[in-house]
Amino acid sequence: MKTILAALALTTALTLPCVALARPVTLTTTLKDFGGGGAYLAIYVTDAKGAYAGTLWMAGGKARYYEHLADWYRATGGNTAEINGITGASVGSGRTLEISLDLADALFDAGYTVHVDAAVEDMRDSPNDIAVPLTTAGAGKSFPGRRYVASLAYGL
């Protein structure tokens, strides 16, 4: 019995750190009332050196329009393999997009930044409409965008 308890304690001690490697995060992107059609949004992350690290979500499913998300397109070459399984519909004017995901712990307080590129039909493209550093101190705060994004916030 003691042996089994010892083994269980060891297993728990080894497993718990792995469970703590990610945390549930909700990213809330609110768009302005720009009056146009659905906005394409590329939500992606760069590291402390500004290099592209990966995409969190692509709102808009037609690859032929991705070149209008200029910064994302430049970083990825428009490679749709980057967004397989994380693509959904474009977001309408004035709507709010809520993304819930388990984000790796290592992204916080390590110089990582979440960016949103936006593009709207027949309107000006807005690469890097908003860029927000990922920090525990920044959680719950609302950051304003430049053109189509009214605000971006992330909750931990």
Binding site: T3, A7, L8, C18, W57, N84, G85, E121, R124
Partner: protein, 117 residues
């Protein structure tokens, strides 16, 4: 004693088996390399018209005057880009159709869930 070692070995193996995928997903993926190779991409129907007016979309930029001559919606996931030497553009697989990319950002390996209000 042998029994003790066997149990310890089994529990350690289980712990590593559970932890290594999460660890390697975070630290092994690193930066994605930029590539243009589209071989092997999953082709799925395009379902981008849920409640959003995307029909006949022609995203034009006031700066460069880029025009898309073909505004037809293709629902088979493949689009012919006539402005690019006839090359075929493959749309990405939608959420929940396939697993998210292993880019090290998703700690649990599960994809995001999305709601639009």
């Amino acid at each position: 004693m042998k029994k003790t070692f066997a149990i310890l070995l089994a529990s350690t193996a289980l712990a590593f088996g559970a932890g290594i995928p999460a660890w390697s997903a975070m630290h092994g993926a690193g930066l994605s390399t930029v590539g243009t190779d589209r071989d092997g991409l999953v082709r799925l129907a395009d379902d981008d018209d849920h409640g959003d007016d995307d029909r006949g979309r022609s995203v034009r930029n006031g700066d460069d005057g880029d025009h898309h001559g073909d505004d037809d919606d293709d629902d088979d996931g493949r689009e012919d880009d006539h402005g690019n030497g006839g090359s075929v553009i493959v749309n990405p697989a939608p959420a929940e159709a396939v697993a998210p990319p292993a880019n090290g950002l998703f700690g649990s390996g599960a994809g995001p869930t999305v709601k639009v209000n």
